[in-house]
Amino acid sequence: MSSEAANLKYMEFDETSDQVFILSRYSRRRNSDLQRFATTDLREIFPVTPGASRDKVTIAVNLGKPFRGQYEEFMVWMKRLVDKKSVMRVGMAVESVWKTIQTRNAERIKGVDLAVIRNEEDESDDELGGWNDHLSVDKILKPPAQESGQLSSVVYLEPDARLSVSQTSCVIGAQSHNNSEAISKLRPHQIRQGSLSSAIKSHPIPIPKCYAHKICFGNLLISGFQTILVYPSGQTGAISITKGDLIRLQPNGLLNDTLIEFSLKLWMHRLEQDDAKLAKEIHIFSSFFYKKLEQRELQESYASVAKWTAKFDLFKKKYLIVPINENLHWYLAIIYHPECVLRPEPPYIKASPSSYSESRMRRPDSSLKATTISEKSTFEDINIGSHWQPLSLLDDLDVDEPMEVDFSTEHVGNQQSTYIFTLDSLGSKALAKKNIPETGLSQAVYKHALVPQQPNSCDCGLYLLHFVQTFFEDPDKYANIIRTRTSAYPEADRRADWKVKGIADMRETLRSKIKDLSIKWKRESVVNELKKQWDSAAVSYSSENDSDVMGTASVEPHGAAPHFHTTQ
């Protein structure tokens, strides 16, 4: 029995069987625990009874047979939740329950994706961290209809992702028409039987509104593979948006790499029309760029992305946009005037000793590199990786501290340095990149921007997009804001400066934009397909003609020719 988050046990992934994840939420004393927990958007799926002093909820999540990646993602997600809110505890009991389910009830649990069971108060287990060892498996397995008073919400879904493609589209169809009412009226057994479209028309059993994107951890979204848009169509590097991606734009949905990249492309496209000059000065990296960099040792990681920038001169750009995804969180780095790192180091910018020695330790071969770099300043020779050494996430360390630059000695208006701004809507975390001083080269100045903070746990992707848009409305102004604002920069001012009001309807705007583009794209695809068919028909027609002409040359006198000539 564990009573602390540190003792959590998680099942190893096993791809041969359904993955069932069981946890219990329990509060012995304080309602505040429940309240705290309830502030996450899981509250709808895992309902809380207000006022209940001892309230225990056991949750079984059957993930079906997820992909390993999805399972791991789910685990990361869960762990984060549990670490934050130590209200959630999982102990050894899980395993026994799990085993029982596997051996004795495999058939029965199949089809249950998520079951929430509200247990009666149990006096006997008050010191057991919420785990009721004799938790009856039958309780979990009982279908909702037969336990109506107990179960607050149960969702049945076909666990086999491959089978549920058509169901998915039904759900999406209903959701995208804002028809969560209809979905909330689904009868579980109907979902299981796959007759979702007819189920939408019928009724009971409430299913939480946020359920659609929750189940993405199970299997619903996984199957939303159908491409609804390729943007920009016909270009290399185009982004394919699927139905599953679109679902993520619903309230509380988490944005994924595809949506981030798509939105940045969309924004760039607009900028190219509005301000072509500025657009040319910007390079947007893929969200996998940073992932690639941080994966390996410095040398290796540089080599692995060297080709990513091989087709243009990175240092001719004024701004580099790097969307970063770490620990299920999106944030943004903007590199401002990257070319400045190529200049000799100005004497007045000095890293504090601590960061200096630390960086030395991290990067043993700086002298070797510097000689190559100082001669030529083409981008191939620059080890950009060295300026990009990621700092691992250290919660207890104030990473801002050692990297602070004394701006009083610097002419802020006079651009002398390369800056790396990180814009993080969960600023307190200060996930940061570290700049490494390089002999003979200027050091990039790291600045953790003071930006508005997201009020929830799902919008960081939107904040990232919004920061990009807003920053480039007036790059110099915002660069200045970032460089000069100190810790006494109230949230209200940040929100005003960064115009966060624009975020409110962003999901809807993006969704309708995708839908509009999707209609166009589908139309184009049909036209292209028709064209292709027509072309190939034309080719075969003309080749028929050719052979006819050759073959009928001698026949001409017999009368076929006149007709042929008139058609010419």
Binding site: G69, T236, I260, K292, S304
Partner: protein
């Protein structure tokens, strides 16, 4: 005789990398990536649709072919799992 030209086209080796692991996949320049994706995912033991594929920092589409992207023998394709973000 009529199908000869296709076989004559040189095959190219793609280096497909996921999380440090590498597999080689031999393809024709006109093979659609949908097929290559499936092969790569199979080699890494993933279900189809798991990965996002990137070549030189750019997304690869299912309908693209190595020829479309000027991919040469020995070039590297990167696979990534989906990135999600929102939680604190």
């Amino acid at each position: 005789m009529s199908q000869e030209p296709e076989d004559v086209k040189p095959k190219i080796n793609l280096k497909v990398v996921y999380d440090g692991e590498e597999v080689q996949i031999k393809v024709k320049p006109n093979t659609k990536f949908a097929k290559i994706f499936a092969a790569a995912e199979q080699r890494f033991g993933k279900e189809s649709g798991t990965f996002k594929f990137v070549y030189e920092g750019k997304r690869i589409g299912k309908e693209d072919t190595p020829g479309d992207l000027d991919i040469e023998d020995g070039d590297q394709i990167d696979c990534f799992l989906e990135q999600l973000g929102g939680w604190q």
